[in-house]
Amino acid sequence: MQFNKQSNIHPVRRTVLKFTGAMGALATVSVAGLMRAGEALAAPWNKGGFESKALEEALKSLGAANMIESKDIVITAPDIAENGAVVPIAVTSRIPNTQSISILAEKNPFPLAASFDITSGDAYVSTRLKMGQTSNVRAVVKVDGKYFTAVKEVKVTVGGCG
């Protein structure tokens, strides 16, 4: 029996650290018409922000200037991520009237990973990120036109014996 030569069981193990390259081509991605789910309700996709390579630019796209460090923003994430391709991140804002939570992996080639407008009455969101290397993960919270922020460092190792 021969295994399928077309298949490749382990590429991820070797390429996970190469997200710098992997995500480098975002600028060339054609974004189909900025189509959004629930179009009537949703704001257009923040193309400029998601395609910013510099953290400052990404923050600017969110409108975030003069951010205030806040202990009322809690980032739950592993100190060490076993697998940079799946790094769990949860953000809770205890600041009243939180309108949105954005998540940035500062050393990713495109730092802005996600933004959530939250109107559920509980400013909490949990998701999973690709991270190319050890980096600060930053949460930016918008409250009545003001911006608050917190960071947590996540160490990324690839692991395995590859």
Binding site: K5, K155, T157, V158, C161
Partner: protein
């Protein structure tokens, strides 16, 4: 694994009890069956690579099952075979370039077989990081083997230490018969020259292993 493992005794006892009077085949019969299975159940790009599954004398001796222990005679035999296996670099210099050794120690790749192909590498990685702590503060290191942090700082870098270290990497079983440490030189995984670089990585005062 030469240590008696109490848990193993318990497990084996449970297994025997569990099947009551039903009999297991004799170990020799099982061994025959296993060798047949091993010869049929694997594929490789070449017949020579299939031979990786064949055991040498020491590997056979070191495949003790469960709580079985190595006898003194067996241990002596493994040590003898292992000593005889050791080859030294042509120029006789046992400590090479610690920087090359550093790279080797952190390289876990080389010589794996997948999709009918051998991993395309000029030389194999040393795989040290998989099982040993190396420079202080490294996170992504294993602990199957003892920590090597400060190895040279503790032992110095004399000719005698270089020789011991070289031999230990070349064939660990010359000192600790049947230990978990691969016989990296004797099995051909690393060349004598590569091993001299790893020796330097461990004993050179400039190596990160010996930095605070």
């Amino acid at each position: 694994m030469q240590k008696t493992n109490l848990k193993w005794l318990v497990l084996t006892a449970t297994a025997l009890f569990g099947v009551g009077c039903a009999s297991f085949p004799e170990p020799a019969v099982t061994q025959q069956m296993v060798e047949k299975m091993v010869s049929e159940d694997f594929t490789a790009p070449s017949p020579a690579m299939l031979m990786r599954l064949a055991q040498d004398k020491s590997q056979q001796t070191c495949s003790m099952i469960g709580a079985a222990k190595l006898t003194q005679e067996e241990a002596a035999e493994v040590v003898k075979l292992s000593r005889e296996s050791i080859r030294y670099p042509a120029d006789g210099k046992l400590s090479g370039d610690w920087k090359l050794g550093n790279a080797l120690a952190h390289d876990g790749a080389g010589d794996r077989i997948q999709f009918g192909k051998l991993e395309g590498r000029k030389e194999n990685g040393g795989m040290c990081q998989n099982c040993h702590a190396l420079a202080p503060g490294e996170i992504n290191v294993g602990n199957v083997g003892p920590s090597l942090t400060g190895y040279g700082a503790q032992r110095g870098n004399s000719e005698a230490i270089a020789k011991y270290t070289y031999e230990k990497i070349y064939n660990a079983w010359a000192y600790f018969p049947c230990s978990n440490m691969p016989r990296l030189g004797a099995t051909g995984h690393l060349t004598p020259e590569q091993i001299t670089h790893m020796v330097a990585f461990l004993i050179d005062p400039q190596s990160p292993v010996n930095k605070k």
